[in-house]
Symmetry: D2
């Protein structure tokens, strides 16, 4: 249809497989551990002096969430797994060709060498192939605790120019679009948000119009709405009801049954279920109008201002400082959308 | 404890058993039927010209909800079942002794003679013993539709003087208190809400400080939170998301997992689960401080203004007009509480 | 209806309120603790040298399950709560009048003096009024573990003469019948099983035709079928699948969604949900024909032979030995039914 | 590891995407419709004289299940979707090169031309690219009925030589192995069952050692165990408990929470949930020993003999007759495994 934006996926010579992990910066590692492990039930795989490596019950990977002690909260990097060691070299070449910063991270616990890059939107991204395997706890039901978090599902990021960032992820990295938000004025402009995936779920990364580069949240998949409700009950029982930022509720987008929680450092996670499988490469993306109230909240609940306005700063890949942010290109309406 | 208000139950010579049904006034019977039967899955037992008699899947009674065509929305009456035909005569005597209006309602579909009274708070109450039995659908799972509503659970009413109304229901009618809200200033005053029961659940009737007599909502019990969530999905799918007034969420009070819906005439129902059993007559009531935020919303979500301010007018028992309302006696804080 | 057996409840001068606790004899207290507390999530209230006092998340009572170290597995006693201290004296008189053994148990942890009796069927029963209160964990969701066991619900016992035992519980103790099994040949005979209640659920005690007096199982209530399924997963993860004796499944009787587990000493518990409320004293009991296959297993699964044949011996109230058993009076068909 | 069988996937020049639909032969179309549509809640997309086209609530495809009127029950064909029209030509060449029967099916409702082949094991397989799209009902919760069946997930087939059939699907068609069953005696022999997938779930097709070619069952995905339990309740309420053949229960294999139902013609379907995502091509298959009791039934329930012995005959692709079957090559133990 001529009115639709071009959302086609490219065919790069390497294969990005899926979202692999995210590194959250926390100011108090013990306090963060109490939140993620003791209360929500994330599994601790390993810790070294400054880092805690966590995973969900469905994950074979050594870690899906890394907590790193730091002077200020934020996101160190978000990581994708690729299909081979050689893919890392191809990716290094791609980013260098475009004049983007890269470096190799070696010696991280639980994985081989990893390529760190700053993508065109400024997001600190890691690509990794070799990941150590931990005990698969899927059927160790006697180990299940808390909200029964199963696995990392996706990243949600704010970027100043969704159309440009979407183009990069689709055309250069081969991501496909599952759903998107447009203001409908014009096919090639007005892209307020895109949900992009490599694995066959609704997304590995979502890009939303906003002050960026920033990470809005990391989404973790749970098996059922009951796990989301249990998370709320756990938070409230621990006198953390004020850290339940939004939900539980259903997004029209992705059909996601969700709750958003803020950790003790204000990093935001989503517990998430009821999305769907996309096994067809010719999946026709779901289009949402910016002013469709069902998009963000199928049941009609408004999101709080903090959910729209606040997001985590991201480190530059040389570390030690946060990336500068820019205002979004689409400004005449609320700047964050979903 | 000396600081606690007197919440003891009296021992009247008759036995009120439980909440039996409520009569909602609706301006368009077909539209109301589409909402309750087609969408939410209430079972239609019978209809006559102006009334629709509905029940839930666990109810053996002919009806737990009556919809009556009327010029304006509101509540015709709320009904309790008593343990014998003779109890009706004893109740008539009680109300007459106190100079309260009574009359006999005969020939209503699905039940024997019923005593209608106007209670001291002005609420139109029916007492009935003989109720026709309908097919019990508990194990007719092939008939289950919509939100799988199981049975009427309770009434929630706003009254100007909770302490006085509570005293009536406890001392004269034998209701016991499960939970209550107090402003803590003084033991005998400051009663903002009481949850009173005859059957062994948290309540058959709740009385809340507010402009009254009015009915805030009728609560229907469902088996699990999934039924509550399904109700939200059903409402939204039917483009009625704006009729999901509050929730889903958990009340601290009663541990209720709830959602509040407004029907096409603005009558309010609650779908409700996760409360508990009270089999002991010496149950020590749960005390909630008026300013405890967990009381109303365990997870911290504020209720909308409409939930606090709006309630249904009630008919006088001679019919044809709504009872006059008075402002609440406790006024220095938000007038409706939970 | 003239064909129906007489199942009326008497009106004794005392008030039995509900099933209160059961005492299981276990040969290895640590092993039993690992099963009930560590795996299934029962809450430990207190332990003394030979006893472990456990409760569920909805229980305010000090204990709903007592594990007592003993040379052989079995049941020490099953206990009901009464409405007053004086009721205990009235009960003592009743049992003595009928020439039945009684004694006072004093100094048990978490409760006042208790009357122990041997009922006409030979079951060791305790009546108690004063029970210490423990922290109510209903909303301490951060404490929930295992199968989220909420509360003791009922006892299920095998007795040689159901009609006689039923008469005792109904006429002398005031229990009402919710459901029953008959072979249909005759109204006054052929009673194979009765479900009797004092609290407003389907039962506090069920009596089934069989070699007795023996306790078939103690039933604990959970909030939803998911808790029952989780119990199965927990058992299997702990390599105790062979201790899942029957289910999960649904009984036609009581609409119970159930699983039966055998503890390390072979004592049997049921995790149980989806039953219904009985608030009316004139509830017409549900009649099940002995040969109706839906009665025991609504979904058609046969129960294993062990479930029919095996039950726990019960101690005599003077302790130290097990009550002698007699064969059932109804013998021409399978002797245990449900 | 040297002891493991070779289970690598090949890299054919075409792309098989996923299981697309199955055609069941039924002797009474109205009776089958009552079962699938009225009771279980499958959605009817279209019917012509002899065929009924059904789909689940998550499916955009015109059909995931086709019921075709026929003189005897069985399976007409099972279909996979490919990534392009050209892939069909490449597949035709492959099968012809191996001397296997092929033909083009044109004019089937809801899809373009389709390639029908008889695979080396004798299974009648269709490949199709163009499939008409139907209304996506994922968020039409007001349309949900019955067991809330979401989508076709997989086929399970009995073949005489699992190793050979597995090799074909892996090496020639590019399927990857998620889990497998071996008798452990030797790495290259003793393959009793393989779970093979193209989409990122545990399987699109499972191949089990047995009399074949036959189709054991078609698996349909539901969102949660509650949907599986509801299916059991629906079957029992409709007096079809004897058609609940196995379960509900959990397979160790795939972590599947399942129930197996027989339709009025004895075709078998599985309702299935709680499996996991496989986004990595280097997923190391889960190995199950043939004699591990957890493999088939994690909770320890034995499967009935019918589940092991009975399966549906399959038509040859020229129609009108059923493919001849051969006994399995592995015979010293129970011939069907899971």
């Amino acid at each position: 249809m001529s009115r639709e934006p071009d959302l086609a996926a490219g065919h790069p010579p390497f294969t990005v497989l899926r979202a692999a992990h995210i590194e959250f910066l926390v100011t108090d590692l013990e306090r963060a551990r109490a939140f993620y492990v003791d209360l929500l039930g994330f599994v601790e795989t390993e810790r070294d002096g400054d880092r805690l490596y966590l995973r969900g019950y469905e994950e074979r990977d050594h870690h899906g969430l890394v907590l790193r002690r730091a002077p200020a909260a934020g996101v160190g990097h978000l990581a994708f797994r690729v299909a081979s060691e050689h893919d890392l070299d191809l990716l290094e070449r791609l980013y260098r060709t475009h004049g983007l910063p890269t470096r190799w991270a070696r010696g991280e616990a639980g994985q081989g060498r990893a390529l760190r890059v700053q993508d065109p939107a400024g997001l600190p991204v890691e690509f990794v192939y070799e990941i150590a395997q931990a005990e698969w706890l899927l059927q160790r039901f006697d180990r299940y605790r808390g909200a029964f978090v199963m696995r990392l599902d996706h990243f949600n990021c704010q970027v100043p120019d969704v159309a440009a960032a979407s183009r990069w992820y689709r055309q250069e990295l081969g991501f496909a679009c599952s759903e998107y938000i447009t203001d409908g004025a014009d096919a090639s402009s007005g892209l307020w948000g895109v949900w992009l995936h490599r694995k066959q779920t609704v997304h590995d990364i979502a890009l939303m119009n906003g002050v960026g580069p920033r990470v809005h949240h990391a989404g973790f998949w749970v098996q059922d709405p009951a796990s989301v409700l249990r998370a709320c009950d756990l938070m409230a029982a621990a006198h953390l009801a004020d850290r339940i930022e939004r939900g539980p509720g259903r997004h029209g987008l992705a059909n996601a049954f969700f709750v958003y929680l803020r950790d003790p450092d204000n990093n935001r996670i989503e517990l998430y279920t009821n999305d769907y499988l996309i096994a067809d490469p010719d999946w026709r993306p779901v289009r949402w109008a910016l002013d469709d109230p069902r998009r963000g909240t199928f049941w009609g609940h408004p999101a709080p201002a903090s959910w729209y306005g606040e997001a985590s700063p991201v480190e530059t890949i040389d570390g030690g400082q946060f990336a500068e942010t820019r205002p979004p290109v689409l400004r005449d309406r609320p700047s964050v959308t979903r």
